[in-house]
């Protein structure tokens, strides 16, 4: 039972996306295609009829094992704007809490003939597990698995950077905060490197930076002043309060003093630097209100880019599944 690499399982025999599980291992061509497709969806969101008929007749199921109203509703809206039927399964409150295994939950859902699952789960590798064991022709979109990946968030961040900065090759990007526990950071790093960014940095205390950061090609800094020098894109990560309890950080105030993005610390970066945050933001914990609401912040643009990006990956994945099905039917007919 040799499990397939998550990045390979995402592509059909023509190399088209059929699941979206992780940014790791996807080629620059595919990542660029995702950004271009999302860009095209942006214009559809600006007109009065915001829907397109691509997923008409398809059923998309939101399988959220972890609570998240924001991400879930973004996916719901994206699905509706693709003309799909959407079903929200609040798993946290249903069978799984009664001890039903993930496998059994999946088998029960398969009988509902869905076309796509959007999955958020606390276990790293959960979306990959589902994609491996689900019936063929059902697309799986990873809405966040444990500490491993949050590829749609990373791609909407890439889209935002692309629209603000025009490209990835000549920019310097710094990700600040709890990298160790962040699935968003991991997905962002892979995307940035593949898209051609040569200077990706992580800034935080040693306890929040994974030991093997060099193995993914990023430079680590413990100091904001040094870390932000020459940086054009500052991505702030949310600091969870639990980190104080698990002997990872002394206090919120020390963290804010050293790593909070304030008007003063933002000045260490390039004057044209943009400020990003995957949200939800903790004002006064990792970011100063003045900066979050300030002229360099593109946080609200990130939010509005969320729906077109999710529409893009859902359309591409559904398309890849359709194509695969057609090709295998043609093979059988021969």
């Amino acid at each position: 039972m040799q499990a397939m690499d998550p990045s390979q399982i995402q592509l059909n025999q023509e190399g088209r996306l059929k699941h979206f599980l992780t940014t790791e291992g996807l080629s620059k061509e595919i990542l660029t295609e995702i950004i271009d497709t999302a860009n095209s969806f942006i214009s559809t969101q600006e007109r009065s009829v915001k829907t397109v008929p691509l997923l008409r007749g398809k059923t998309v199921v939101n399988l959220f094992f972890e609570n998240s109203t924001r991400t879930r509703s973004t996916f719901e809206l994206a699905a509706k704007r693709l003309s799909a039927n959407i079903l929200n399964l609040d798993i946290a409150r249903s069978a799984t809490s009664k001890g039903e295994t993930l496998m059994d939950t999946l088998w029960n859902l398969e009988s509902m003939y869905s076309d796509m699952f959007v999955v958020r789960h606390a276990d790293s590798g959960a979306a990959h597990f589902i994609a491996e064991h689900i019936t063929p022709n059902v697309a799986v979109i990873n809405a966040g698995d444990g500490r491993h990946a949050h590829p749609t968030q990373a791609m909407l961040d890439m889209l935002t950077i692309y629209r603000e900065k025009g490209g990835f090759e000549n920019i310097s990007v710094a990700i600040v905060g709890d990298i160790l526990h962040s699935r968003v950071a991991r997905s962002q790093v892979y995307a940035l490197k593949t898209l051609g960014c040569n200077d990706v940095r992580v800034i935080g205390p040693n306890t929040l930076i994974p030991k093997d950061n060099e193995s993914v090609g990023v430079r680590a800094f413990n100091n904001m002043k040094q870390g932000l020098k020459g940086v054009n894109v500052v991505i702030m990560l949310r600091l969870q309060k639990e980190r104080m309890q698990n002997a990872l950080l002394p206090s919120e105030s020390e963290y804010y003093r050293l790593y909070g993005l304030t008007t003063e610390s933002l000045a260490y970066a390039e004057p044209d630097a943009i400020v990003m945050h995957p949200g939800p933001i903790n004002r006064g914990v990792e970011i100063e209100s003045a900066v979050a609401d300030g002229p360099q912040s593109v946080i609200l643009k990130q939010v509005s880019n969320g729906i077109p990006m999710r529409m893009a990956v859902m359309a591409m994945a559904m398309g890849g599944q359709n194509q695969e099905q057609t090709l295998s039917e043609q093979e059988e007919a021969k």
């Binding site: 295609e33 271009d36 095209s40 007109r47 397109v52 008929p53 359709n322 057609t326």
Partner: protein, 165 residues
Amino acid sequence: MALPQPKQLIEKMAKDLASYVQDENDIVMVGIHTGGAWIAKQLHENLNIKSELGLLDISFYRDDFSQNGLHPSVKDSQLPDIENKTIILVDDVIMSGRTIRAAMNELFDYGRPEKIILACLLDVGHRELPIQADVVGEKLDCPLTQRIKLSGPEDLTLSIVTLEK
């Protein structure tokens, strides 16, 4: 089969469209990516249309998504306001008519046009839907095994491509 020169065909189309443009005030020209857009740019200049040129990508409205998935190079659609306007919809080659159907469906999601006039560089027959162009550069007989391709954006030229089995 000898292929015509696009430059001459565009001149002819401009002449034929002149009457439509003269009679109406609220004209918007919309070119369908990619070939239609190239032609529309030239026509737009030629006819001196005041409103901004609209560009339409129909990838999200194609009827073959279930078979072939999403087209790899989706371009941006940019349209000015089309509410109550007369649209001159421009494409390079009309064959089955499906592209035009998709374009019209998409246009109606942007607003309600007063009227749509279809102008195509070439009409190669083999309709699968009841759709006809109002202005045509030239009618050609093209066997089903071949397609006619327009290359651009500068020095527009036509070529024949034989389909692989």
